[in-house]
């Protein structure tokens, strides 16, 4: 990790720095052995989404992974009878309410909240255009541009959230999309390899999209 390498380089040049690094490593070991297991147990039993502890000059923050599907759906059950209304993201992309994401916003609000990180989502309201050469089975890295959403003439990139393989498209080229709408499924390499009988790399389109 770059940060550790930097500390290591400094330690060769400065004895004081070496001592500091040693103290840091001891602190990390204490955190890992004593504090973290206790915090994990506390977090699991508390029902909290996040817990942060300050100790000396150190800070540890634990956040529960975002659960998926039904388990994250809470508020609004009373109104579930409204399913099938013409909400653009639901109607156009064909999402059913059981596939919807949790209404609760993520703590990080700059990016679409994503309980399912293997789907590329729309960064804005606009008109979706996939990259010209995008094809099922294509390998992508996290952050690779796989298309764009045109917002009043300004293109905003749609990027892959993970390293993986392009799966099925969930929106058509030229389609109006809403913020955070699911656009393209991204299959994780190991999962697609299993689905492909162990062959790494390319996976059959029909299987990739089913994960």
């Amino acid at each position: 990790m770059p940060a550790r390498e930097k500390i290591g380089n400094q330690s060769q040049a400065e004895p004081e720095g070496a001592l500091r690094v040693q103290r840091d490593h001891e602190a990390i070991a204490r955190l890992a052995d004593d504090l973290l297991p206790a915090l994990i147990a506390k977090l699991a039993s508390s029902g909290l989404g996040e817990i942060e502890v300050h100790q000396g000059g150190w800070k540890a923050r634990l956040r529960m992974p975002a659960p998926t599907g039904e388990s994250r759906r809470g508020a609004g059950r009373a109104l579930d009878t409204t399913s099938g209304l013409g909400h653009i993201g639901r109607g156009i992309a064909g999402r059913s309410r059981s596939e919807e994401r949790d209404p609760r916003p993520c703590p990080e609000e700059e990016a679409p909240c994503d309980p399912n990180p293997t789907v590329a989502r729309s960064p804005a309201v606009g008109v979706y255009h996939p990259r010209g050469d995008l094809a099922v089975g294509m390998r992508v890295r996290a952050g690779d541009r796989i298309g764009y959403v045109n917002v009043l003439g300004v293109n905003q990139d749609v990027v892959s959230p993970v390293d993986g393989i392009i799966g099925s498209s969930l929106a058509e080229a030229g389609e109006a999309v809403e913020y955070a709408q699911e656009l393209v499924r991204i299959e994780l390499p190991e999962r697609s390899a299993e689905a492909d009988g162990g062959r790494p790399g390319r996976a059959p389109a029909g299987v990739v999209g089913q994960a």
């Binding site: 508020a75 009373a78 653009i88 916003p105 309201v125 008109v127 009043l152 109006a176 913020y179 955070a180």
Partner: protein
């Protein structure tokens, strides 16, 4: 008339606009943030579209997101509601540039009335009395100089925005220095504009406002007054119409002067002129709100005129269709803002999930709210849960109906200010119609609640 309107707001006002559109036979699309995915307006809309994350900067306050949503859903107009982009002349201009209509005053009108300080001067030139105040403040030194000239106490006020944000009461030069910095940063954060000015603070004043409507053909009407003197930290809690602070003659005179001034200054669409009325009954103009007001339902209850529908019609280029003689205000109406705030804990905003929810009924009772059982109140926005409004032939009966309705109203799962409203209604100062804007801040909520519990 429009064919489809994008509603770029949330909560009760999004629902109110949706209902007005349906009544007019116009299609409507509700634009919502991720935090409002389960909001009632988004749920009840024929069409809804997510425009961004919970942070309003990237959703309800994002002009590209809102306009793009209107374009891709095939809307021909945008209703901004109140707050957010509702009085942003730049936004109104960009909306028009995209061949969409802005439901509100035109960009030029909004720009003319954008600065509160400049509006005071403009309407003073058109015959309204204003409170002594400063020009726009350059810095702390200028503020000190102007405050000395006007005389303490003074109010520091942001030139943009509303809702009491950035306003500070300052009684000494020493207080001014720190309050100036706080107001400036609050104004910048709240409205993106840190321009401030000073206004002489009148102790024991009443807040009275006049509702006007002006179409593009120069037809202008007023729809009476509203009294919003029950406030906490410059935020209205209870509003009523007609104001108990004015005689009928004074009421008519103020409404006519306000309408004449605003129409001759070139205003268009729905608007509200706010005044402070002192102990002698003198009304000083303080500011104009170029949008639909939170408290508009009480005017609707007394006049029978749908103000949101009227606003939409004016924006669509239709004539008012009603003359001043057609506007008849009957009876008395009171609005209670139901807030997710804990009066016992310094009105701290509350979040959480609504459990049981029961709205009151009976003659003259109206509840505008986006709540439902199981609704998770997001912590990102203001604490308004709804508006309970009552109407009756006279004020005494309106107070009685208000109390009965507040008793029936049940919002479980979150602390609200319902009991505080009941306590205020039972207070002799309110019953006598003598509440002033500073009363609640001066005595706090505890004496009201304690007296109400006796």
């Amino acid at each position: 008339m429009f064919t489809k309107v994008l509603i770029a707001n949330r909560g009760e006002i999004a629902l109110r606009i949706l209902r007005a559109c349906r009544m007019l036979g116009i299609g409507a699309v509700v634009a919502y943030s991720e935090a409002d995915r389960e909001g009632l307006a988004a749920q009840l809309a024929d069409e809804a579209i997510c425009i961004g994350p919970a942070d309003a900067k990237h959703s309800y306050l994002s002009a590209p997101a809102v306009i793009s949503a209107a374009v891709v859903t095939g809307c021909d107009a945008i209703h901004p509601g109140y707050g957010f982009l509702s009085e942003d002349d730049g936004f109104a201009d960009v909306v028009r540039a995209h061949d969409l209509a802005f439901i509100g005053p035109s960009a030029e009108v909004l720009e003319r009335f954008a600065s509160k300080e400049a509006t005071r001067r403009l309407l003073a030139a058109h015959g309204l009395m204003t409170i002594p105040g400063s020009t726009m403040l350059r810095d702390e030194a200028h503020a000190l100089e102007e405050a000395e000239r006007i005389g303490y106490p003074v109010l520091i006020k942001p030139s943009a925005g509303g809702g009491g944000k950035g306003m500070r009461l300052v009684r000494t030069a020493r207080e001014l220095d720190s309050a100036f910095k706080v107001s400036r940063s609050e104004a910048k954060a709240g409205f993106g504009d840190d321009s401030l000015y000073l206004e002489k603070y009148l102790d024991d004043n009443r807040h009275v406002e006049i509702q006007v409507a002006v179409d593009r053909f120069g037809n202008a009407i007023h729809l009476g007054d509203r009294d919003c003197s029950v406030q906490r930290r410059h935020q209205k809690l209870i509003e009523e119409t007609p104001s108990p602070a004015l005689t009928d003659a004074a009421r008519r005179d103020l409404a006519e002067r306000a309408l004449k001034a605003v129409a001759s200054a070139g205003y268009e669409n729905l608007g509200t002129l706010e005044f402070l009325v002192d102990g002698k009954g003198e009304a000083y103009f303080i500011e104009i709100n170029c949008r639909i007001q939170v408290e508009h339902p009480i005017t609707e209850l007394c006049t029978g005129i749908d103000l949101v529908a009227l606003q939409i019609k004016i924006a669509a280029g239709e004539p008012l269709g009603i003359a001043q003689a057609d506007v008849v205000s009957r009876g008395h109406a009171i609005e209670f803002r139901i807030l997710a705030e804990d009066p016992a804990k310094d009105f701290r905003p509350q979040a959480g999930m609504v459990g049981a929810y029961l709205t009151p009924g009976g003659p003259g009772v109206r509840m505008d709210s986006h709540l439902y059982p199981g609704y998770e109140i997001p912590s990102y926005y203001d604490s308004l849960l709804g508006k309970l409004c009552v109407w009756a032939p006279d004020r005494a009966l309106a107070i009685a109906r208000g109390d009965a309705a507040l008793r029936e109203l049940l919002v479980d799962g979150v602390t609200t200010n319902i009991e505080l409203h009941r306590a205020i209604l039972a207070n002799q100062v309110f019953i006598d119609g003598k509440v002033t804007t500073s009363l609640l801040d001066r005595v706090g909520s505890a004496p009201f609640v304690a007296a109400g519990n006796r």
